[in-house]
C-alpha cells in the first residue's frame, strides 16, 4: 500500500493527541510500536492492584494513573470508573487535555499489510479523523477521500462535503474480536482477510464498537466515550466499549458527526479465555437484545446541542426504559451522570462546543 508514502505527509499531531493504554501487566508491547508512538504522550491507566509497579519502556513520555490516583483525583465520583476491567481506560480520556485520543490494548501489535509493510495504525487513524465522513448516503467505493477513490455516479454533490469525523474504529488481524460463544465454537478461527477500506457507518445504523484499536476527537465526542460500569462488583464485563459505541453513535447521529470503521488493522495477539469471557458476557448476551432496540429507537430532543446534554438525556432514558431489565441499569444511569459531572469538572469552560442540531436529515 503506497498510501502513506504517496500522500504528502499526514500531520503527526504529536502535541494534539494522547495515546491511552489500560494495563495490568506490563507495557512490553510498546517496544514494537516505538517507531510510531514515541513522538506522542501516553496516558497509562493502571488497573488492578495499585501497589504493583508497571514498567514503561525507556524513552516514552507518559503519565500513569493507578486506582489510588483515580480515587484521589475524582473523590467520590471515582465510583463511575470501573475497577478490574479495561473499562477504566476512560479515565484517561477524561484526564487528557488533548484534542484527539488513540486507545489501544496492550496485546495489540503492529500488523503488516498484504505487501508486507508494517502498518502505522496511528497515522491511518489520524487520516480518518482529519478527513470528512459521509453518513447521509452510502458511497459504494467506500471512503471517497482516500487516494484513488471518489464519490461514485449518483452521489449528490450537496452531500460531498461530508461532516466532521468524530470516531475512527480500527480492526484486527489474527485473533478476531468474537464473543465467548463464538470463540468456543471457533477457537481456531483467525482473521486473515485484509479489507483495504475505510467507510462511514451510515446515520441511523448501529455497530459494535471495539475499544482495542480506536481513535476519536475528544473535543467533538469525548464525553460520550464513557465505558460504563464493568468488572469488580458489576454483573457484566466486556460490554464497556459496546456501551460507549452505542451511546456515541446515537449522539453522533444526532449532532451530525461521522463515525468511520475499517483501516487501520493491528495484530491482535492474545485470545482471552472463552470460559472467563462467557461468565463476564453472559448477562450482556441477553441484555443486548433489549439494548439494541433501545438505542435504535432513542431520540434526543432538539435542545440537546452539546455532547454532555445528549449524554445526560440518554442517561434519563436508560433509567426510564432499561431500569426495568435490571437494577444495574439504574446504577449505570447514575454513573453516566457522575461521569459527565466529573468530565466537566476536569474539563471546565467551553470544552463542549455547541454543535448545530439536527443537521441535514
Amino acid at each position: 500500500m503506497a498510501d502513506s508514502a504517496s500522500i504528502p505527509n499526514t500531520p503527526l499531531l504529536k502535541d494534539e493527541l494522547d495515546i491511552v493504554i489500560p494495563t495490568i501487566r506490563n507495557l512490553d508491547f510498546l517496544e514494537m510500536w516505538r517507531p510510531f508512538f514515541q513522538p506522542y504522550h501516553l496516558i497509562i491507566v493502571q488497573d488492578g492492584d495499585p501497589s504493583k509497579t508497571i514498567k514503561v519502556p525507556e524513552g516514552f513520555d507518559y503519565e500513569l494513573y493507578n486506582r489510588n490516583d483515580i480515587n484521589r483525583i475524582l473523590g467520590p465520583k471515582a465510583s463511575c470508573i470501573s475497577f478490574k476491567d479495561s473499562a477504566c481506560r476512560c479515565f484517561g480520556y477524561m484526564i487528557s487535555k488533548k484534542k484527539y485520543i488513540y486507545t489501544i490494548d496492550d496485546d495489540c501489535f503492529v500488523a503488516k499489510d498484504p505487501s508486507g509493510k508494517e502498518i502505522n495504525a496511528l497515522e491511518q487513524h489520524i487520516k480518518n479523523l482529519l478527513c470528512p465522513s459521509t453518513p447521509f448516503f452510502f458511497n459504494t467505493l467506500y471512503d471517497p477521500f482516500r487516494d484513488g477513490a471518489d464519490f461514485v455516479r449518483g452521489y449528490p454533490f450537496s452531500l460531498r462535503e461530508g461532516v466532521s469525523t468524530a470516531v475512527s474504529h480500527g480492526l484486527w488481524l489474527n485473533i478476531p474480536d468474537y464473543d465467548a460463544p463464538t470463540q468456543l465454537v471457533k477457537p481456531r478461527e483467525r482473521n486473515t482477510r485484509y479489507v483495504d477500506a475505510v467507510l462511514t457507518v451510515p446515520k441511523g445504523t448501529l455497530f459494535p464498537m471495539c475499544g482495542m484499536n480506536l481513535a476519536f476527537d475528544r473535543e467533538l465526542i469525548g464525553p460520550a466515550m464513557y465505558f460504563g460500569l464493568m468488572g469488580d462488583g458489576q454483573p457484566i464485563g466486556r460490554y464497556d466499549d459496546m456501551w460507549a459505541g452505542w451511546c456515541t453513535k446515537v449522539i453522533c447521529d444526532h449532532l451530525g458527526l461521522g463515525v468511520k470503521t475499517g483501516l487501520p488493522y493491528i495484530w491482535h495477539s492474545k485470545a482471552s479465555n472463552p470460559f472467563v469471557n462467557l461468565k463476564k458476557e453472559y448477562k450482556g448476551i441477553f441484555w443486548q437484545e433489549e439494548l439494541i432496540p433501545f438505542f435504535q429507537s432513542a431520540v434526543l430532543p432538539k435542545d440537546c446541542t452539546t455532547v454532555q446534554k445528549c449524554y445526560i438525556e440518554l442517561s434519563k432514558q436508560v433509567r426510564e426504559k432499561l431500569g426495568k431489565i435490571d437494577p444495574y441499569f439504574d446504577k449505570l444511569a447514575d454513573a453516566m451522570v457522575t461521569w459527565i459531572e466529573a468530565w466537566d469538572e476536569l474539563n471546565p469552560s467551553g470544552a463542549a462546543a455547541e454543535k448545530p442540531n439536527g443537521t441535514a436529515k
Binding site: F137, F138, V152, T182, D196, G204, F207
Partner: protein
C-alpha cells in the same frame, strides 16, 4: 464457496449496446457458459449481433420486443433495454453485466467469477439491521463480532447484489472530466450489507438480483432528457436502485455491496465526458431532489409485495416530484406502465 448453484436458477441478462460481442463473451465464457443468456439488442443498434458459438442464449431485437410488449410508453433503448430481459426471464436469479466489462483479477491474480460471487451473495443472508464490523459474517473466515445481537444473526434474504469495478470506476461526468486518468486499482476484499435506511447509488454495470422476490422493483423509471449510451449519461440504474432499496427496506429484504469486481473499459473519452457535462448536468442536478425524496418515502404496511411498493412509490413520485420536473412525471408513469407490463408478460411462468 460451497454453495450449489443450480444452472437453471440463473439467467444472465446482457444489454448489447455494441454489435460485436465476441471479445466480451469469449472472456466471460468460463463463467457464463453453464448458464442461459438473455441478450437484448439495443434497438438503436443497427448491425446484427456477433455472438460466438457455444452459449445457450436467446437474442431479443427491436422487433421481438415490439411483438411481446405491444405498444408501450416505456423507452427501451440504450441501457434500459436490459429491463426487457428481466421481463422475459423465468429464472429466480438474474445477473447483469455491461458489455464493456471483462472479468477482473483479484489480489492473488486469479480471474474473478463474478457470476458465482453474485450468486453467493444472493444465497447467503444479508444483515441490514446492525452493522458487522468484519463485514459479511457468512464469508469463510469471518463471523459476527462481539456485541452483535444473537437475534439478528439469522439475517434476511439478500435480493440485490451490487458489484464494483476496477480500472474505470463508475464516476459521473464532472468527476471523469476532472480525473480522466484516475483508475480504480484498489481491490477491497469484502462484501457487506448496506444497512436498512441507508441509501446508495446502485450501478447497473455489474449486479445480480432475486427476480422472484424483487419482481418489478427493478424498473426503467427515470430517463434523462438527453440520455445517452455512456454510463455517465444515464440515471436509470441510480433511480432503479433507490426504488429497490426503499422496497427492500420496507419488506425486510437485504442489499449487499462489494465483491465481485469486474474490469471495466479501456479509457475515458475526456472530450466525450465534457460534451456530456454540457448536456448532462441535468442528471447531477436531479439527484439533489431525488435523494431527499427517497429518504422520506414511507410505504404503507398494506404494501406487502414489491409490486405494491412500486405502485405506491409511483404515486408519490407523481405527486411530490412530478411538479418539479417533467422527467419525474414520466418516471412515475413509466413505473406504473412497467408494473402493467410485468403483470402481462413478466409473471408468466415465473
Amino acid at each position: 464457496m460451497s454453495l450449489n448453484i443450480e444452472d437453471n436458477e440463473v439467467d444472465i441478462v446482457i444489454a448489447a449496446l455494441r454489435s460485436d460481442l465476441t471479445a466480451f463473451m469469449e472472456k466471460w465464457r468460463p463463467f457464463f457458459s453453464r448458464f442461459h443468456l438473455i441478450i437484448i439488442k439495443d434497438p438503436d443498434v443497427e448491425e446484427d449481433l456477433q455472438i460466438p458459438p457455444g452459449f445457450d442464449h436467446q437474442v431479443f431485437t427491436k422487433s421481438d420486443m415490439a411483438q411481446i410488449l405491444g405498444a408501450t410508453s416505456i423507452n427501451f433503448t440504450g441501457h434500459s433495454c436490459r429491463y426487457f430481459g428481466y421481463l422475459v426471464s423465468h429464472k429466480k436469479y438474474i445477473i447483469s453485466i455491461d458489455d464493456d466489462c471483462l472479468p477482473a483479477r483479484d489480489n492473488a491474480g486469479t480471474l474473478v467469477d463474478a457470476v458465482a460471487q453474485h450468486i453467493v451473495n444472493l444465497k447467503t443472508p444479508a444483515t441490514p439491521f446492525f452493522f458487522n464490523t468484519l463485514y459479511d459474517p457468512f464469508c469463510k473466515g469471518a463471523d459476527f463480532v462481539r456485541g452483535y445481537p444473537f437475534s439478528l444473526r439469522n439475517g434476511v434474504e439478500c435480493v440485490l447484489s451490487c458489484g464494483l469495478w476496477l480500472n474505470i470506476a463508475d464516476y459521473d461526468a464532472p468527476t471523469q472530466v476532472v480525473k480522466p486518468n484516475d483508475r480504480n486499482v484498489r481491490y477491497v476484499d469484502a462484501v457487506m450489507t448496506v444497512p436498512v435506511r441507508a441509501l446508495m447509488p446502485v450501478s447497473g454495470i455489474n449486479f445480480g438480483f432475486n427476480r422472484e422476490l424483487l419482481g418489478p422493483a427493478l424498473l426503467p423509471g427515470l430517463r434523462l432528457a438527453g440520455e445517452g449510451k455512456e454510463r455517465w449519461e444515464t440515471m436509470e440504474d441510480i433511480w432503479c436502485g433507490l426504488c429497490t432499496k426503499v422496497v427492500c427496506d420496507h419488506l425486510g429484504l437485504g442489499v449487499k455491496s462489494g465483491l465481485p469486481y469486474v474490469w471495466r473499459g479501456d479509457g475515458v473519452d475526456v472530450r466525450g465526458a465534457m460534451d456530456s457535462l454540457k448536456r448532462e448536468w441535468e442528471g447531477v442536478k436531479l439527484m439533489e431532489e431525488i435523494v431527499p425524496f427517497f429518504q422520506s418515502v414511507r410505504l404503507p404496511s398494506t404494501a406487502v409485495t414489491a409490486e405494491d411498493c412500486v405502485i405506491e412509490m409511483a404515486a408519490m413520485v407523481k405527486e411530490q416530484l412530478g411538479p418539479l420536473n417533467p422527467v419525474f412525471a414520466s418516471a412515475a408513469d413509466a413505473m406504473v406502465e412497467w408494473v402493467k407490463l410485468w403483470k402481462a408478460v413478466g409473471s408468466q411462468g415465473a
